[in-house]
């Protein structure tokens, strides 16, 4: 018979919580709804930018599948990481470590949603979109969560690719292929992920250290992390300008990408130039890193919004 404490992810739980089914909001929280928001939005923009028609019902089904697929990956991630979630302040109240959802049930929930999302995507659109969705889920679970997250400080860099798939999936849902533009959108999200997460990990490094997760600030120190934030932001800004420079987006996007990129770069430089001790540890309670984290979120939403607006506005492109 399974040990209930192990089953619950090592966290002690009151008897009533253990014996009784969890509330719907806990199941919803398992899907990581905030991550889904981002994934759905970038996926929708990929779908919008793709050439060719897609019936609104099928488009809605495709976006729904992207959301559910991301939720499935997030759920399986929470199942696998239940031991480290329990010792991190930021994640200790998640449903599994807090003892409100059984680990086995969460795994079943995540796997079911993942398989269902891929099947429905295949039925509603095409095999390429379904294949990419399956690949993104498997990549997040096996490459990021199982393989990289606990082994290397580059976990976010490589694993971040999983979050970059949605615009490509949206595009493939319409066209059945992968072109240059979806690859550019992939690159934007790919280069955005490291500065976004490292800004967060600068002020949550104690949590990661306690959990034994080799985040960059834990392994290489705060100073090296600050530099990496700037390097990746520069790479991101260059990547964000490519759709305009290659003629896939117009001046509305080009100007916006330059302005937003400058804003994010200023935020990153503030992280680099934060008042710090000899080891690079902040003397300002990481106020610039907290600000950069918020800026990064607004940046990506604004950048993809401008990409969509540029597409629908009647302004000629370079290409």
């Amino acid at each position: 018979m399974a040990d209930p404490v192990t089953e619950m992810g090592g966290a002690s739980a009151p008897l009533s919580s253990f014996e009784l089914p969890a509330e719907a909001r806990d199941w919803f929280a398992m899907l990581k709804p905030r991550v889904i928001t981002l994934v759905v939005f970038t996926g929708f923009v990929g779908l919008l930018l793709a050439p060719g028609p897609l019936h609104p019902v099928l488009a809605l089904a495709a976006v729904l599948c992207i959301a559910v697929g991301a939720g499935a990956a997030g759920t399986i991630n929470m199942w696998y990481d239940r031991d480290i979630d329990a010792v991190m302040r930021r994640t200790a109240s998640r449903p599994i470590p807090a003892g409100r959802i059984r680990a086995g049930e969460a795994l079943g929930f995540g796997v079911t949603l993942g398989i269902a999302s891929v099947i429905v995507m295949g039925l509603a659109t095409n095999a390429v979109a379904a294949g990419l969705l399956a690949l993104s889920i498997l990549f997040y679970v096996f490459v990021y969560t199982v393989w990289l997250k606990r082994r290397t400080p580059q976990n976010i860099v490589i694993g971040g690719a999983a979050g970059a798939f949605p615009p490509m999936i949206g595009w493939a849902a319409v066209t059945g292929t992968v072109d240059v533009m979806p690859l550019l959108m992939f690159a934007i999200v790919f280069f955005w992920t490291p500065p976004h997460f490292w800004a967060l990990s600068l002020y949550a490094s104690e949590d990661y250290e306690r959990a034994g997760v080799p985040m960059l600030p834990v392994i290489s120190g705060a100073r090296a992390t600050r530099l990496q934030v700037v390097y990746y932001t520069v790479a991101l800004v260059l990547a964000s300008l490519l759709p305009w420079m290659l003629g896939y987006a117009g001046p509305v996007y080009g100007v916006s990408a330059a302005g937003l990129g400058a804003w994010f770069l200023i935020a990153s430089l503030r992280v680099l130039w934060d008042r710090q001790d000899a080891a690079g540890v902040s003397l300002t309670r990481d106020a610039p890193a907290r600000w950069a984290f918020r800026v990064s979120l607004v940046y990506l939403f604004a950048l993809f919004t401008m990409l969509a607006l540029d597409h629908v506005l009647p302004v000629p492109h370079l290409g």
Binding site: L20, V120, L123
Partner: protein, 49 residues
């Protein structure tokens, strides 16, 4: 061998039934939504082809 779990108190039993009812309703809603989604996808697919 297997041990029986301790019996639930009346309060826990009521809470268990309430939550199970909630779970069943949620499952019903999901199934209806899935049926509607499959129906809509099929109709559109037939129309397109």
């Amino acid at each position: 061998m297997d041990e029986f779990p301790p019996p639930l108190s009346p309060v826990e039993a009521t809470e268990l039934r309430r939550r199970q009812r909630g779970k069943n309703i949620a499952l019903l809603v999901v199934l209806i939504a899935l049926a509607a989604l499959f129906y809509a996808i099929s109709m559109v697919r037939f129309k397109v082809s």
